[in-house]
Amino acid sequence: MRTFVTKLLRFIVVIIAVTFFSFSLIKLVPGDPVNYIIPFGSGAIKAQLRHDLHLDDPFFVQYWHWLRNFFTGDMGRYYGTSFGGGVSVSNQLWKALPFSLVLIFYAQVLALAIAIPLGVVTAYRAGTKFDGASNAIAFGFLALPSYVLAFFLAIWVAVKWGWLPVSAAGKEISPVTDWQYMILPTISLAAAQVAVYMRLLRSDVVATLREDFITTAQAKGIPNRRILFRHALRPSSLTLLTVAGLNVGALIGGAVVVEVIFELPGMGYALFQAIGAKQYVAMQSYIAVIAIVYVVINFVVDILYSVLDPRIRHARAAA
């Protein structure tokens, strides 16, 4: 219980820190941010905006206003008239966030679905040609940036063969029913993760297979398949869980880029457009939300970890 409270406190500190960082980004902008938001506005309009954004107030007062509005769902509006002027940032956010989460979920599921059997089998066949080839391919995929794979898939599968759409530009698509738009982005994102999980699982399972309880299971005459996927896989599940949680950070970064390449209406594309159109108010909120999602996921994984493995609770409690 005490560890849970410590974790919760740490979680709150991190949330405050990342929101503070996201907020202070506007302070890094060289010059007066108002000039970027409405470059051609009159002096009075600029003064009004400066007042609306609390830019006249002391820094921490500004932060407090911003934070309170942020958590009550008022994230301001897109400024100006050119790009989405007047649109509420939180409206955009509620459309874009679920899309990105579903995309990351697909990529995670696909990566694990391929990596788990492959990791177990290569561990079982450690040292064979199949193992060597799988490892070499996985190593290659690790060096393949998701955007490179995305472009290659776009060139061949989408443009040359015309099997799948290249981009979803300007379309209101749902990540569930418009699945044909999701296939290439999911594959691009998942490929490198497959390599990460497979290599991790392989080395874990190779170690597990040396344990006595595996020999016992063999001696009892349990079929190999059952030993591999029931007995040998179980101890590795916690490692996989942690790494899958930590990898969400890499997936978020990858998703941003992949969404921009395939022009999917997710957080990444929204952030990209906001930066391109100098919508600093929107940018602050998007970055804060992305960071919070990542922190929350890791917090949940951390808690799950100690629920699933009582040894960790006891070890910490004893220390």
Partner: protein, 326 residues
């Protein structure tokens, strides 16, 4: 089931036999004493630099070489020379790698484009190495409040996904992004350096923590050595291998990130400074009729990243830097 795998001790023995070392309990004991936690494992896994590592090193030397020699190589000017009539024409005599969407020679673009990519990759990690390494050493050696504070700071910086953090810093700091002319190499390098600080800081801290408990550190302290001397002469040399292997992998990540930032519209300015990342972005609009632009730049990034990953892994296996301790 597979044949029973040899136990670690057996493997160590066979490894030693292969290396021509006398196999006896003595060497094993020495290995165990000299070792930090985990070094016996390193002994077991220690592999000589294989042919792959030489290929990797060769490619890196080649890329760095052509990047340095770009001004004296017999290449067309990547920016000022262009032949609009030949734009989007594939590989041909005189233009071995084809021409891009503006009629510029792809070969010279790729050679010149190596410069910003490598400067950003090596530069950002060099800064991260020094800054992260210094803070990491201090955090690992002086425990208590300072250590906790710095460790917490690293955790907070790692709480924002790396690409997002870099994008945010570049977007906010580069005035030129706001004028849509791309950013300066310095902005991108510093943004990626900031991202790399907590990563290198954390590995250094973890490594310094385990080394500062060792007897020779205690001995140095007993002899009245100053903190600075202990950090510089006793701990740093032992922590460096771990830092180096992570740094090599970090250079690969930074080179990939340069491309990602270019795609996100926050990369270096394509009009004045071609880079591998912005060559890809430039070719993006002509995927169907001139896919080779994106493919060629992608291959350059891929081979460089593959080489750096391979070297990083080889170093890591040699010095037994464990993921779990990072």
């Amino acid at each position: 089931m597979p044949e029973p795998l040899p136990s670690p001790a057996e493997e160590l023995a066979t490894e030693e036999a292969r290396e021509g070392l006398p196999v006896d309990a003595g060497t094993r004991e020495i290995a165990a004493v000299v070792a930090v936690p985990g070094v016996t494992a390193a002994r077991r896994r220690k592999k000589p630099f294989g042919i792959g590592a030489w290929f990797a090193l060769g490619w890196l030397v080649f890329v760095i070489g052509i990047a340095l020699l770009a001004p004296i190589l017999p290449l067309k000017d990547p920016i000022n020379w262009s032949d609009p009539a030949l734009k989007l024409q594939g590989p041909q005599w005189g233009h071995l790698l084809g021409l891009d969407q503006g009629g510029h020679d792809m070969l010279s673009l790729l050679v010149w484009g190596a410069r910003p990519s490598l400067v950003i990759g090596f530069g950002s990690i060099a800064i991260g190495f020094v800054v992260g390494g210094t803070f990491g050493l201090i955090a690992g050696y002086f425990r208590g409040f300072i250590g906790e504070l710095l460790g917490g700071l690293f955790d907070i910086m790692l709480a924002i996904p790396a690409v997002i953090l870099a994008l945010a810093i570049v977007a906010a700091t580069s005035a030129s992004v706001t004028e849509n002319t791309g950013s300066h190499i310095t902005n991108v390098t510093i943004a990626l350096a900031i991202v790399s600080v907590p990563i290198l800081g954390r590995i250094t801290r973890a490594s310094a923590l385990s080394w500062s408990d060792r007897e020779f550190v205690l001995a140095a302290r007993a002899q009245g050595a100053s903190h600075f001397r202990i950090l510089w002469r006793e701990i740093l040399p032992n922590v460096l291998p771990a830092m180096f292997s992570i740094a090599v992998l970090g250079i690969a990540v930074a080179i990939v990130a340069e491309g990602a930032l270019a795609i996100l519209g926050a990369g270096v300015n394509a009009a004045s400074t071609p880079s591998w990342g912005n060559i890809i972005v430039g070719g993006q609009s002509s995927l169907s009729d001139a896919g080779y632009i994106v493919i060629e730049a992608s291959i350059a990034i891929f081979l460089t990243v593959l080489s750096l990953n391979h070297l990083g892994d080889a170093l890591r296996a040699r010095f037994d830097v464990q993921e779990a301790r990072i």
